[in-house]
């Protein structure tokens, strides 16, 4: 297979006007070209340079999305699916302009099957909205990337987060999708059976494709019973190696821990300042255990022993919902706390994931890099998966700071790849990681490009992202 170069988008304003006219006939007021509407969909939660689309559509159904796509396809006009704008790799920035399909008004929970532990939602439903909807059912949807992201966006970026170590990522938790293809055709990727060997796995092809192969409009998800007992703990370590090794041992022993989050001492100082807390300014693990009363007690005892062995101590436990929520608030605010450390600067978050046996090495070398740099950059992460984040604090206008973040990010990615890891564990490729895809996947990128070209021959779906170098 040759290394296919995808066409670049150039849509004239005459074409755009025609497209927008047709979209208005279809959707009326639900097409907007106002400056604020465009600005709101021009950026994500990252440092990536904003770029507005030319119009925003707010469809209410899969059928409406299909009509929008047909109009755009007929005029070779770029389409950018947009969820909550909480991505961090520029995944939904309208690099070549075009039509933003904002799915935020597709917010219906279409079905909850209590007996089957699954549900089907429109793509714009957010994870918090879903869990509020499920509140009285005894079930919940565990995947938690931090932000209140849309389920469609989470599927698109193969998101995970704090409790993937127990419940898996969107890869394992999406049972099926409705997708509008780049020609406006609608497919369902799967029936609702828990497993199937019937043909190619289209569900997983679209999960993680970041809107470059079609628009995800409905998602069927696995749900889980709310655990009978939940217990959370915070524990401090004298050094980061001890904290990481405690995590490694816990995973190796097969303890079904639900969350295992590391915050380094830089991040802990930020958290203390931001939330007026007084945790020791040391590498710290935030942990959570789910199970029966007896099971949670057993897990906590086991992990307590492991933690002591690796120099951890000063356990702070929380079992009641309110106390747990307070404890986790500190972790959830970590990104904002980091940004607040350096007023006027923005966070440039990056993530890598390595086999857990290489995690201590990867974090320690990264911290060495960071100590030698003039930038401040806390480390935090879902270390139970081998996944961690660095948040470079930069002034995006300062070319020296940007260059330093780029240098450190590249060293981090190359370090992770050298350790048999990946350039992104959960943020996706978007714009920011495109340049590393070849280093990670080699010739497999050619195959990815061939698939992209087959499904989207006009290259109208979120052009310039993922495989589109």
């Amino acid at each position: 297979m040759e290394n296919l170069k995808l066409p670049t988008m150039r849509v004239t304003s005459a074409v755009l006007n025609a497209v927008i006219h047709e979209l208005r006939v279809l959707l009326g007021e639900r097409v907007s070209t106002s400056a604020s509407a465009l600005a709101n969909r021009s950026r994500d939660a990252s440092y990536h340079k904003p770029r507005p689309p030319d119009a925003v559509c707010l469809p209410h159904s899969t059928a409406e999305v299909a009509e929008i796509v047909k109009i755009c396809a007929a005029h070779s006009t770029p389409i950018i699916p947009f969820g909550t704008g909480t991505g961090v790799e520029g995944n939904a920035i309208a690099l070549h302009g075009g039509i933003c399909i904002d799915l935020s008004e597709m917010k219906d929970v279409l079905a909850v099957n209590l007996s089957d532990l699954d549900c089907t939602v429109q793509a714009g439903v957010t994870r918090k909205q879903l869990n509020v909807h499920l509140r009285d059912t005894g079930l919940f949807f565990p995947i938690d990337p931090g932000a209140d992201a849309s389920i469609g966006g989470m599927a698109s970026t193969r998101a995970s987060g704090t409790n993937a170590v127990r419940y898996g990522t969107m890869l394992e938790n999406v049972l099926g999708l409705s997708v509008v293809l780049p020609d406006g055709g609608i497919i369902k990727t799967s029936r609702r059976a828990r497993k199937s060997s019937a043909g190619y796995d289209l569900t997983r092809l679209f999960v993680g494709s970041e809107g470059t192969l079609g628009v995800i409009t409905e998602v069927t998800l696995k749900l889980y019973g709310v655990p009978a007992a939940i217990s959370a703990a915070v524990v401090s370590f004298t050094d980061i190696e001890g904290a990481v090794n405690a995590v490694i041992r816990t995973i190796q022993l097969g303890v079904p821990v639900a969350r295992m989050e590391l915050l380094d001492e830089v991040q802990m100082e930020a958290v203390n300042r931001y939330s007026d807390l007084d945790y020791p300014v040391q590498p710290t693990l935030f942990m959570e255990f789910h199970g029966t009363e007896a099971g949670v007690k057993e897990q906590a005892e086991l992990v307590g022993d492991i933690v002591s062995e690796f120099g951890g101590g000063g356990f702070q436990w929380a079992t009641e919902a309110e106390a747990r929520s307070k404890l986790w608030q500190a972790r959830h605010d970590a990104y904002y706390a980091a940004q607040a450390m350096s007023p006027g600067r923005k966070g440039w978050p990056t993530d890598v994931c390595v086999p857990i046996s290489r995690l201590a090495e990867c974090i320690i070398e990264t911290k060495k890099d960071l100590r030698e740099s003039f930038l401040t950059a806390p480390i935090l992460g879902h270390v139970g998966d081998g996944n961690f984040h660095v948040v470079f604090l930069i002034n995006p206008e300062d070319t020296e700071e940007v260059a330093e973040a780029e240098r450190l990010n590249e060293r981090l990615v190359m370090r992770a790849l050298a350790l048999d890891g990946t350039c992104t564990g959960e943020h996706g490729v978007g714009l920011g990681k495109m340049k590393y895809l070849l280093a990670e996947h080699g010739d497999a990128v050619t195959l990815m490009r061939a698939i992209k070209r087959t499904i989207d021959p006009q290259n109208i779906m979120n052009p310039g992202k993922v495989v589109n170098s």
Copy 2:
């Protein structure tokens, strides 16, 4: 996308002779055209009509597989990857002749990473061989489709089996693959990190593709710690509805049961006769619990209560390895026991999978069909997943019996599809389920065919299977 018709293979004997000559230069004695070698790779474990390949190659490495594929590709000659021949839907039958790549001599365990709970094996390693290799490590590979299948074959068919209800299927347990593409190029689909958002999910594209997109030559797998405690039980029910409902309740309550197998009264009679046992001839559940001592006790108590509630009783427990192994032998021999019920007849195994809330309905209607038929057909299955098997006992030469099995099979598949299920939970499409793919997936089949054509434009990879109607 148009509904692409793939080219049909016609290779002249002159071309075949040239291919075989080139293969002999490459592999010497490891190319065979003897009648017995061809016959051994002409069939699988099913009723499907055998069809021999024209030659069999026995490569030892990914590089050798790539050379074989290049030779075949240069002459547009079909390639059929072959593992242990234990498939049941004709997945590896050489429908159009061609070159069988038998991976059974690629039996090296390439790496076991104890700390990361993973391993990398050549595709010909069987699941039992792997577990023997792991014996002293405290780790094991759980997926158990019954037969001692090769890991490559299991990945190719997205296999699962008795304990998928706890450990998942090959979809969730393959971390990465080495694949030889139809042009002889070699790719790795993934690094060894536990999760990644870096590009399209090629791993899952090849898992379940049944050799139609390339040859899987190496597989990286998740491993698990051997549970501290294991307990198994057999329990009988007065009716099949009670047995199925006990399973449904167990799953809904989130009990992390490791195995939950149903054998109907027809199958139990067969098992008793075959293995000289005296289980009640009633619908029966075989169950297994994995965990800590306390966890297993807790699970067993919970399930004991549920079973009583649904009319189950006469628990027979086994905790020691030997007693458990004897108990499970009856389950593992079920297919042979079924065949032995009707000497001279062959088993025609089929499987479907439905959402668990529809399982009782699906099994009860199927049993009604079977009672009204002149064929004998026991039911058994991995009901914790909503997945069950029917084994029609037929004389393949008797057109009336074959026609009746086809009629019942079609009714079963259509029933499963009507209940939002799939035409195959774990056997794959092969030849036997091709005609149902469109009924299950609709327009998504067109997309599958487009992917097939992009990756294998000559249609040389296992032609006539899966999407190739």
